[in-house]
């Protein structure tokens, strides 16, 4: 994607030493030189470190040997309790016989049913529970950051009109836009990967300094890798969405306003007025994309309006799969980006 435009001057011996120009190189240079973007990243990193230190220091403690022994004891007690209750239930003559015993009285409690980590007091950092959950939170924060960077990257180009100045150097508008989009997508992906790596490293540190001994289940790491892949896709899409909105309305501040109005007002209004449409809301599709195995959204049937299609009184559930979430998010982003690019390619620029 090198934007060499030296063709016209090759026959002119006096022309400037036009080498192979690179729109791509210049764009990378441009985005990394932006002060506001650097500042955003620095502030985010500092905020992250502060939050991690405070939460790490106040919420978790490494259990002592005595504390662990005590927790194991409590696990045994819990297992014994559960077993006793189950035995009692099985012996109960009034137990309904049309359903299997397992369903009424619960499964036979084994030692693996309760985890020692859940019984230590004060609580310890738990890699199995805290790593994937917080990885999603970190992903959401980096996605918001990517949205902001995408919006300001192109919004400032419009407000300074340096977008137009660039066309004196590369008149192929589609190429100009593609390079900018590509650079932003790559930057957002890098941001997503870095965010996850930083959290992974933090989690390892927390586990070794403030965690209880743990046995990770078999699919733990492969599940985590899949989740992080979806998270990084999400970060890239949000970066492109910020870029797309700001490019369409050609203003950074206004695109933040659009984002705010959508997430704070439109989504909540839809939740109240048309609960079934939640299947198409961005937030729910984000949850669908990120959650392992998809996202089940309970619909409060009492709130469904008569035309909503749900019989009052019957509990209802909307299921949003990873694919559904990714497609809706990707589709909305693609539509907005395409509208902005089409308008840029065709319209008069002043």
């Amino acid at each position: 994607m090198s934007g060499a435009i030296a063709t016209g001057a090759t026959t002119d011996p006096h022309a400037a030493d036009l080498g192979r120009g690179s729109l791509l190189l210049a764009e990378v240079h441009r985005i990394t030189a932006r002060r506001f973007i650097r500042w955003l990243l620095a502030v985010s990193l500092v905020t992250y470190l502060v939050i991690v230190s405070i939460v790490g220091l106040t919420q978790f403690a490494k259990p002592s040997a005595a504390g662990l022994a005590h927790a194991r004891h409590r696990v045994q007690a819990a297992v014994a309790n559960q077993k006793a209750a189950r035995d009692q239930c099985l012996k109960d003559p009034n137990r309904p016989t049309d359903q299997p015993a397992e369903q009424i009285c619960g499964p036979d409690p084994a030692a693996g049913m309760f985890r020692v980590q859940d019984f230590v007091d004060p609580p310890a950092f738990d890699l199995q529970r805290d790593l994937p959950a917080t990885a999603i939170a970190v992903g959401v924060a980096t996605a918001a950051l990517a949205f902001l960077i995408g919006a300001t990257y192109v919004g400032a180009e419009w407000s300074s009109r340096s977008m137009v100045a660039l066309l004196f150097w590369e008149p192929r508008r589609l190429r100009v836009m593609s390079v900018k989009l590509g650079v932003l997508a790559a930057a957002a992906a890098l941001l997503g990967v870095l965010g996850q790596l930083i959290w992974l490293a933090t989690a390892e540190i927390l586990q070794s300094t403030r965690g209880a001994p743990t046995h990770l289940p078999a699919h733990f790491w492969s599940d985590l890798v899949a989740q992080e892949g979806r998270t990084i896709l999400f970060v890239v899409l949000m970066g492109l969405l910020g870029f797309g909105i700001a490019n369409l309305i050609r203003n950074t501040g206004a695109s933040m306003g659009v984002g705010f109005v959508y997430f704070a007002i439109v989504e909540n209004a839809v939740r109240v007025a048309r609960p079934r449409w939640q299947e198409w809301l961005l937030t729910d599709n984000i949850a669908g994309l990120l959650s392992k195995g998809g996202y089940r959204l309970p619909v409060d049937s009492a709130a469904v309006s008569p035309g909503g299609g749900v019989v009052p009184g019957q509990p209802h559930e909307i299921f949003i799969s990873n694919l559904h979430g990714g497609l809706v998010l990707g589709g909305v982003t693609a539509a907005i980006v395409a509208a902005g690019v089409a308008s840029f390619v065709r319209r008069d620029l002043h």
Partner: protein
């Protein structure tokens, strides 16, 4: 060889809830290579629109255009490397330094960093190149815009009212720079302006634009000859007596506030002599240059 050719260009800007604004009305324009070609017209006559069309920023409704012999906007990707432009105000990133702004453009086209320094030197901005663009004065911004247009060592340099916002010293420098470039044997400068005097000072050829059409074109000396009014501005110690004498000699005299305007004063020597013989020694006698409006009025009247 011609560097710019426009034939029958029309352009109307569409506006919401109002009739379209007709900016160009069948413009024909030919600019031969070499020298400085003035593009003279009052505000709103379509100069910027023409330049934007040539650079592919706005689309023409109809008409043919060529830059350096190639049809545009189709061949623009090929010719743009030889065309430098400053359109209206320079467009730079406000928080980047002048130098960084130029370097980013240079990287886009593969222009060397030493050329960036050369151009900064050329417009006398080397000393302030590391300041942020937004901290520059209007004149410095304009000079940086010219530097950016020069980066490519263009064969055609398009400058749209480059002296806007410059102080008199800055205007003088820019005009000298334009003349130097226009006569370096390889650059053609296409200079748009609404100032007759600027065109008279720096241009070899001129095309005059009025309401989206070219109304006159040719060497400056020919096109603007006979465009001085022939009127003079006159001041004397005793204005009333001077007026009386002049009117008695058959001149038409009108007031300019603190001076008289003598119409069709074909022989200034005769006026001086007439007044001196009657004891009136002039404190001022100067020709009144044609203002642009009257030149346009004259030219557009001839057209219809």
């Amino acid at each position: 060889m011609t560097v710019i050719e426009v034939a029958g260009a029309h352009k109307a800007y569409r506006r919401p809830r109002r009739p379209p604004e007709r900016a160009l009305n069948g413009l024909d324009l030919t600019v031969a290579s070499g020298g400085v070609h003035g593009f003279l017209g009052p505000n709103g006559s379509g100069k910027t629109t023409t330049i934007r069309m040539l650079l592919g920023l706005v689309s023409a409704d109809s008409g043919e255009m060529r830059l350096l012999g190639e049809p545009v906007p189709r061949a623009l990707p090929a010719v743009i490397a030889s065309v430098g432009a400053l359109v209206e105000t320079p467009l730079f990133f406000p928080n980047f330094s002048g130098r960084l702004n130029l370097r980013l453009l240079a990287e886009t086209a593969g222009v060397s960093r030493s050329r960036v320094e050369e151009c900064l030197e050329l417009v006398d901005l080397s000393g302030r190149a590391d300041d942020r663009f937004k901290a520059y004065s209007l004149g410095m911004k304009q000079r940086l815009g010219i530097a950016a247009a020069l980066l490519k060592s263009p064969r055609l340099l398009i400058l749209d009212e480059p002296s806007n916002g410059l102080d008199p010293a800055g205007i003088k420098e820019v005009r000298q720079l334009i003349q130097r470039l226009g006569h370096d044997g390889r650059t053609t400068v296409f200079l748009s302006s609404h100032q007759l005097s600027e065109v008279q000072q720096v241009c070899d050829h001129v095309s005059i634009l009025a309401r989206g059409r070219c109304v006159a074109t040719g060497p400056v000396s020919e096109v603007l000859a006979g465009q001085s009014t022939g009127d003079v501005r006159l001041r004397a110690p005793d204005p009333a007596a001077a007026k009386q004498l002049l009117e008695a000699a058959g001149y038409t005299v009108t007031s300019l506030g603190d001076a008289w305007r003598v119409h069709r004063a074909t022989g200034p020597g005769a006026i001086t002599r007439l007044l001196a013989e009657n004891g009136q020694y002039l404190t001022e006698l100067s020709p009144i240059a044609a203002d642009l409006e009257s030149v346009f009025l004259e030219l557009t009247r001839e057209q219809t």
